[in-house]
């Protein structure tokens, strides 16, 4: 009997458990998955909670609903990996052996990394919407907020779902307009990047969108600390931004377990081959989802496309064949823009987001880099797809490799 051990039963780990159990023989392979929590959160839904569009019950389900029979699910915090000896230590001293290991422990927010962030204004005038606690606290706060300077700040790169903060300001704009208080709210988007997004064509489209909505963008702002007494953001080069209400993406880091295992970079992400998804350090360890340091977006859609490549390569590794499947960094993200509309971007390691139609060339129904009603429905349907198709590791009608069909090559 051989063992495949999966660390983390979030989006990526759950998908892999399903794919592998559907294929591997029960009498040859034992599959085990470990997570510290019993609840699976639909994280993309956190974005909608502050505005009362979703509530807690819309984004939670028991993890066990998604782990197939024949996969052993262990609830425990993982202490560390000992790659040299093919062992994983759990919190209560329990030890698990493996033949192959899949790391899928994701990324988490670390407000402690920024001086003054988790201080007296935390969850009073400063909120995150990357956790269930933060998004619910923010919903309560917004209900009777009287207006003022709303600042959305990104602390550090990389962070998961790079478009979520843009969606947040767009939804906030529409929320205040609907409440008849848009004129009382000044919205500013603060980012360490040189523009609203990194790649030129998408940045142009998104910047125009923000300008149209009267949302100010402050680029190249690298947050050092927060002055709680004067309600200011202060950057390393000593620029200051005033706020009345601050929504923030705290520094994102991989699990501390990765650090304890000596397997991470300076943000606890695991150095990973960006094409094969094998860890740089150990041949029998693979990494998927937000936990990997690969240069593409940290998003559920990326984990989905990567899961097909990882599956192929793991099968090859099991049979001692070379790892031929190559991940291209494919990402596909719906961007909520408010007023029942949305935009869509589709890109990979080499091709930046371009305009066009998706998934069918010339037909769509979705418009790439366009602000349309149908794209909004794409996002709405995504939640259903996430619970019923994505997590279960079922086939989706979209290829893992990005395609140029339907895209127009343009430059700024």
């Amino acid at each position: 009997m051989k063992d495949i051990l999966i660390l983390g039963a979030g989006t990526a780990g759950t998908m892999m458990a399903n794919k592998l159990r559907n294929t591997l023989e029960y009498d040859e392979w034992r599959i085990t998955i470990v997570d510290q929590y019993k609840t699976h959160y639909y994280q993309p839904g956190f974005l909608f909670i502050p505005f009362g569009i979703y509530n807690k019950q819309d984004v939670i389900k028991p993890k066990s609903n998604f782990i197939p029979p024949g996969v052993k699910l262990i609830y425990s915090e993982i202490d560390k990996i000992e790659g040299e000896n093919n062992k994983v230590y759990l919190q209560e001293g329990r030890v698990l052996n493996y033949d192959f290991l899949i790391i899928a422990t994701g990324t988490q927010t670390c407000p402690e990394e920024t001086p003054g962030l988790k201080d007296k204004l935390w969850y009073k005038d400063i909120f995150d919407f990357y956790t269930i606690e933060g998004s619910i606290a923010l919903q309560k706060h917004l209900k009777d907020w009287k207006g003022g300077k709303l600042v959305m700040c990104i602390s550090e790169l990389p962070y998961k779902c790079p478009v979520a903060p843009i969606e947040f300001v767009c939804l906030a704009e529409a929320y205040f307009a609907k409440k008849g208080m848009r004129d009382k709210v000044d919205i500013t988007y603060v980012t360490p990047m040189p523009g609203a997004f990194t790649k030129p064509v998408a940045t142009k489209m998104l910047s125009e969108l923000l300008t149209e909505k009267n949302i100010k963008v402050i680029p190249d702002f690298y947050l050092e600390k927060i002055d709680n007494d004067n309600k200011k953001l202060i950057s390393y080069d000593e620029l200051e931004i005033d706020f009345d209400l601050l929504t923030i993406v705290p520094v994102n880091m991989g699990s501390e377990m990765i650090e304890r295992s000596g397997m991470g970079d300076d943000l606890n992400f695991v150095p990973t081959n960006k094409h094969t998804l094998q860890s740089d350090q150990f041949e029998n360890i693979f990494v998927i989802g937000d936990a990997a340091n690969i240069p593409t977006s940290k998003a559920g859609s990326v984990a989905h496309f990567a899961s097909e490549i990882l599956f192929d390569n793991l099968m090859s590794a099991i049979e001692g064949r070379p790892l031929l499947a190559k991940f291209d960094g494919h990402a596909n993200c719906y961007i909520e823009t408010g007023y029942g509309k949305g935009a869509l971007i589709d890109f990979n390691y080499d091709t930046e987001p371009l305009p066009g139609t998706f998934p069918l060339p010339g037909i769509g129904p979705f418009g790439l880099l366009k602000n349309t009603k149908i794209n909004h429905y794409g996002k709405v349907i995504f939640r259903w797809i996430y619970w019923h198709i994505l997590l279960k590791g079922k086939e989706m009608p979209i290829e893992a490799d990005m395609t140029m069909a339907g895209k127009k090559r343009v430059t700024v």
Binding site: L157, T198, D220, E224, Y236, D237, D265, D266, L267, S297
Partner: protein
């Protein structure tokens, strides 16, 4: 891409002024590249450039945070040395590609 001669050496630059081949770099090239952006390089600058070149040669991805943890200079100090875009400018003068930490 353009080819120009700096300090007697022919170097290839991207449209944004980054060297396309890190091996075409030497100290004089760094000094001249820095001048075009209005910087005068001293020892403290070169310590950062050496660190960046080493890290790049090892295939590491570079972030401001990583330079800040290098023990050579903290993040504030890095901003003082290369105001207006610490990693952008330091990478350019170190002859390594424009940082792509952002996706």
């Amino acid at each position: 891409m353009t080819q120009i001669t700096i300090a007697g050496q022919s170097v290839d630059l991207t449209d944004e002024g980054y060297l396309t081949d890190a091996s075409q770099w030497n100290k004089e090239v760094a000094v001249e590249l820095a001048k075009t952006e209005g910087f005068e390089l001293g020892d403290d600058h070169f310590k950062v450039l050496d660190f960046l070149r080493d890290a790049h040669a090892k295939g590491e991805t570079l972030t401001i945070r990583k330079v800040g943890k290098s023990g050579i200079v903290d993040i504030k100090g890095l901003y003082k040395l290369f105001p207006g875009g610490p990693l952008k400018f330091s990478s350019k003068f170190a002859g390594i590609p424009k940082p792509t930490s952002c996706v």
